[in-house]
C-alpha cells in the first residue's frame, strides 16, 4: 500500500521525547548493542536498513555502491557505538555515517567539482522558475506504484549531489534543517538555500509529467 496523501498536511517529523516508549526502547537497544549484543544491534539494523539504503542509493546512484555504503555504515556504527552519545537520535547518527560514506564513494568515482559540498559553490544565485503549469488534482493516481517510483527517483537523480543530498535528508528522510546542517557540515542558511533550489528543480521536472493536460504553460514575464 502506498500512502501518497497529497491532501495530507505537511507536518514535520514526529519528535520523540523521553516519555515516548519507542524512544525508551530504542535507547535500551542501543545500550545492549553497545555492550556487544549483536541481536540488539540487528534489531536496530532491521529498523533502519531500508532508509539508510535508500539515502545511499539516492546519493551514489547505483545498487552496488549503495550496498557497500549500507554495509560500511552499519559495521562502523556497530564498532563505534561508544562514540554515540545519545544526544541526537540514533538514526541521525547512523545516517550521518552513511552520508559520509556515500559522499566518499562519489568523490572516489568522479573528480567532479559538483560533488563538493563546499559552501562557496553557487548558493547566492536566484532560484530559477521556468515552467509554470497547474497540476492535476491527484496526478500520482494516474501511475502505478512502480511507475511513480521511477518518475520520482529519476527526478532526484537528475539533481546535482549538493542539491539531492540536502533534499533527501530534509524532504525524504524528514530530518530537521539543524540536523541536516550538522550532518553535512553546512550552515543553516546553506541548507535552506540548497533545499529551495532542489525543491524548485524537482517541481520543474515533475511539472512536465504531472501538469494538467491541455493547460497552457504560463511563465513569468
Amino acid at each position: 500500500m502506498i500512502a501518497l496523501g497529497l491532501e495530507q498536511n505537511m507536518a514535520g517529523p514526529r519528535i520523540r521525547n523521553e516519555a515516548d516508549p519507542v524512544a525508551l526502547e530504542e535507547a535500551a537497544l542501543v545500550d545492549q548493542a553497545r555492550g556487544g549484543d549483536l541481536a540488539a544491534f540487528s534489531e536496530l539494523v532491521r529498523r533502519y536498513e531500508r532508509r539508510v539504503y535508500r539515502t545511499a542509493r539516492h546519493i551514489v546512484q547505483n545498487d552496488e555502491d549503495a550496498e557497500d555504503v549500507l554495509q560500511e555504515a552499519m559495521l562502523k556504527a556497530f564498532e563505534h557505538l561508544d562514540s554515540f552519545q545519545g544526544n541526537s537520535k540514533f538514526y541521525t547518527w547512523l545516517v550521518r555515517i552513511a552520508v559520509n560514506e556515500s559522499l566518499m564513494k562519489l568523490r572516489k568515482r568522479k573528480s567532479d567539482r559538483s560533488v563538493s559540498l563546499d559552501e562557496s559553490i553557487e548558493t547566492d544565485e536566484e532560484p530559477i522558475v521556468r515552467e509554470i503549469a497547474v497540476w492535476d488534482d491527484n496526478p500520482e493516481q494516474r501511475y502505478s506504484q512502480t511507475e511513480l517510483r521511477e518518475i520520482l527517483d529519476k527526478a532526484i537523480d537528475s539533481l546535482k549531489p549538493i542539491f539531492r543530498t540536502v533534499f533527501i535528508l530534509r524532504d525524504v528522510e524528514e530530518l530537521s534543517t539543524e540536523e541536516t546542517a550538522e550532518i553535512l557540515g553546512l550552515s543553516i542558511a546553506a541548507v535552506k538555500s540548497r533545499l529551495l533550489r532542489a525543491r524548485l528543480q524537482l517541481r520543474e521536472r515533475l511539472t512536465r509529467t504531472f501538469k494538467r493536460k491541455g493547460d497552457q504553460i504560463l511563465g513569468y514575464v
Binding site: M10, V45, Q71, F78, E79, V134, D171, V172, G219
Partner: protein, 89 residues
C-alpha cells in the same frame, strides 16, 4: 509590497511555515493576487508531499543477508559477548 522575486526568495521558509507572521501575511496576499506564484507555491508543496508519501522499499533479501553476514563476521573480530561466553563455557 512583495514582488515575485521576493516571493521566490521566501518560498522555502513559507513552505516550511517558518516565516514571521508579518512576512507570512504579505506572502499570502501576494499569492492571492499573483496566479504564477500561486502555481509555483502549490506545485512545490505537492512536490514535497509526493516524496514524503513514498515509503522506503524493502531491502532485497540477498542485500539484507549479506549485511547480516558481514555483521556476524565483524562481531567475531570484535570479540563480542556471545563469542566470549561461548569460549568460556
Amino acid at each position: 509590497m512583495v514582488t515575485c522575486k521576493d516571493f521566490l526568495r521566501e518560498l522555502g521558509e513559507y513552505l516550511d511555515e517558518t516565516t514571521d507572521p508579518a512576512t507570512r501575511s504579505a506572502l499570502e496576499k501576494h499569492i492571492t493576487e499573483c496566479p504564477n506564484c500561486w502555481v509555483v507555491f502549490d506545485t512545490c508543496k505537492k512536490t514535497i508531499q509526493v516524496y514524503k508519501g513514498m515509503d522506503p522499499q524493502p531491502l532485497p533479501d540477498p542485500v539484507h543477508e549479506r549485511l547480516m553476514k558481514a555483521l556476524e563476521r565483524k562481531a567475531v573480530t570484535l570479540g563480542v559477548k556471545e563469542d566470549c561466553s561461548e569460549a568460556k563455557a
